[in-house]
Amino acid sequence: MTDIFGLLKGKPEDSDYMKKGVIVQGITGAYGSLHAKNMITYGTNVVAGVTPGKGGQKFEDKVPVFNTMQEAVDATNAKISIVFVPAKFFLQAAKDALNAGIKLLVAIPEHVPIRDTMEALALANEKGATIIGPNTPGIMIPELIKIGIMPAMPFKAGKIAVLSKSGTLLYEISDALTKRGYGQSITIGIGGDPVNGTRLIDAFDMVKDIPDLEGLVVVGEIGGDSEEMLAQRIIDSGFNKPTVAYIAGRAAPKEKRMGHAGAIVMGNYGSAESKVSMFNKANIPVAKRPADVPVLLAGKMGKSD
């Protein structure tokens, strides 16, 4: 299991404790440079960028750009990278990162072919590395480190873990939580693709033992059975922190892809009803609207006190 806090924060004895280095793959592209800047502003320690053919440049006058991941890792010893390359180049970028020793790879691109994701995952497993995404907004510990494209505004440090398939719903629901006084200990966007490097159950395993965790929010959507598996895992593990879920796509027609490659109901596989009924079985209330999530969470927290 991935020690996500070890990767994102490190240990007090580490020289780079609380300022772990992050490499940005595709840092000179329009999208990559915009979000590299935003991450730096947020306080993320961006130590290098990689763009083949642009080695030797400095990004924003201070972050060195390398031609290859190997050079970037050799120079910085970073274990985290975030990928902004176009989808069709994702597999190569992921291979370069994993072969160079990256242990946490955050895959932003949308439209990565499933086969490429599966190949990247096989290599990650072999190397003992973790992939978040593809098609994810990223991962963050609010007010400490942001590795992704999420705006800063909705998030605040706190004790609720938020796991989400959707980007904008993650922002929307975190915003609602923050307004109600529920800051977040960590937020993980698992992504809207059919195959996720980190599934909801994997993300749950990453956060379930956070010592001062006070609650868990799961933002799911139609497609696949990630939510059902998570509900079963919560039942089996005896996890008893207040948990609330939200599922998008109840009104979506069957057999149609609703924006996300993974958001499709085939027969009954992936339907909202199936997910809601499994969450109910796990005694997890499912909000009808995003705005209801903090209300239900407050109710749960009151009860479990």
């Binding site: 989808a87 069709k88 439209h111 990565v112 072919p113 499933i114 086969r115 599966m118 995952l121 494209i149 999420m150 705006p151 800063a152 909705p154 989400s164 398939k165 959707s166 980007g167 904008t168 719903l169 922002y171 929307e172 915003d175 809207g192 693709d193 059919p194 195959v195 996720n196 599934r199 159950i201 933002v219 959507e221 139609i222 696949g224 059975d225 990630s226 939200y246 998008a248 796509g249 109840r250 009104a251 979506a252 027609p253 069957k254 057999e255 149609k256 892809r257 609703m258 924006g259 996300h260 490659a261 993974g262 958001a263 085939m266 027969g267 009954n268 009808k288 609207r289 995003p290 705005a291």
Partner: protein, 368 residues
């Protein structure tokens, strides 16, 4: 993309899977020609991208030309689960001993391909208890695994050989065409013990389309969906009267759900992607202006750093250019929203603080 039965069978044929003689058409003249080439009797099968065709009367036996003239148009006019016929397949009838089920599909949560096989074919696989399930990584089916499945099915001799051959071909299709699902239901054992695919379902990974120009002809998109894709949006047409626009698939789905909960009927799902600019919102309004049943537009944008004034400009420009003459009910989360409200004063666009208010106003607004 999801292929129709006759399209799936075109692929099956290329890979040498056993099929009955069949011909597809979209008009009765071609149908009559095909009937003569095939010879009576045969089956008339509606081609729609959904299941449950048999129960809905979409599969009919046909003995002679008079019957064809009667039934062809009947089947062509059917709607199954809201889906119109895309074509009609005429297929020879089979002398069947037994119906089996066989599929290879992407098991998303296990992140591997999975074989499902059963001795009970011809019914929905979800309702079948005796399933043989085998995980096969990236879709490669070895001789050993294929033999094992045939053995567990209790197949022998020529039937086992035919089954193993079909399974290996399905594996080849899955890998080479990057399928999410390839299903044969039913897979028939014929009177002479040979194996024959009587139906075919085939879903490919849209994200791999760029590697498969050969599949492009099967792509079924309306002109508007195509244009949306070119703009980097994703659009699904629905049959209601309120167009739903937002940024991010999850947020738009969520808006659709809340609208339906409140008695509204969505006319489309339109996700303009992560950000929102004057150009992207204007393009979204352009697309919606081409849908004729729309009576109102519901906009739900969540942008941490999006300036709502920028979005307001797009609405104003759309009215100015006579692109739309529809009321817009909008919830814009972002900066400068007071200024945006001022800008839109007197226009047909209203900005609301919460999505719930925008939805209520939209549902009431289109009733008028």
């Amino acid at each position: 993309m999801q292929l129709l039965e006759f399209q799936a069978k075109e692929i099956f044929r290329q890979y040498g899977i056993n099929l009955l003689p069949s011909k597809s058409s979209t008009n009765i003249e071609d149908g009559r020609k095909h009937a003569q080439e095939l010879g009576f009797p045969f089956v008339i099968k509606i081609q729609v991208p959904v299941g449950g065709r048999g129960k809905a009367g979409g599969i009919q036996k046909c003995q002679n030309m008079d019957e064809l003239d009667l039934k062809y148009p009947q089947v062509m006019d059917l709607k199954i689960k809201g889906e119109k016929a895309r074509a009609i397949l005429l297929e020879k009838m089979a002398d069947i001993k037994q119906e089996l089920y066989l599929s290879l599909f992407l098991n998303r949560s296990k992140r591997c391909y999975t074989i499902i096989a059963s001795n009970e074919g011809g019914v929905e696989i979800e309702s079948v208890k005796s399933q043989i399930i085998k995980e096969v990584g990236l879709g490669e089916v070895s001789d050993e695994i294929a033999n094992e499945v045939a053995k567990e099915m209790g197949l022998q001799g020529k039937t086992a050989d035919g089954f193993i051959d079909t399974l290996k071909k399905l594996s080849k299709i899955t890998i080479e065409k990057e399928a999410e699902l390839v299903e044969i239901n039913p897979l028939a054992i014929m009177q002479d013990d040979s194996i024959m695919a009587l139906d075919g379902k085939f879903v490919t990974d849209d994200n791999s389309n760029f590697r498969h120009p050969e599949l492009e002809k099967y792509q079924e998109k309306t002109a508007i969906e195509e244009r949306a894709e070119k703009s980097g949006f994703s659009l699904v047409e629905l049959d209601g009267d309120i167009a739903v626009v937002g940024n991010g698939a999850g947020l738009v789905m969520s808006t659709l759900d809340m609208l339906s909960d409140n008695g509204g009927k969505p006319a489309c799902f339109l996700d303009v992607g992560g950000g929102a600019t004057t150009e992207s919102v204007y393009e979204a309004l352009t697309l919606i202006s081409k849908l004729d049943r729309v009576k109102g537009i519901l906009v739900n944008l969540y942008g941490g750093i999006v300036k709502t004034t920028v979005v307001a400009e797009a609405f104003l420009k759309a009215y100015e250019d006579n692109l739309i003459d529809l009321p817009v009910f909008s919830r814009l989360k972002g900066t400068e929203s007071e200024k945006a409200k001022e800008m839109l004063q007197g226009s047909r666009t209203k900005i609301f603080d919460t999505v719930e208010e925008a939805i209520n106003a939209a549902v009431m607004g289109v009733k008028k």
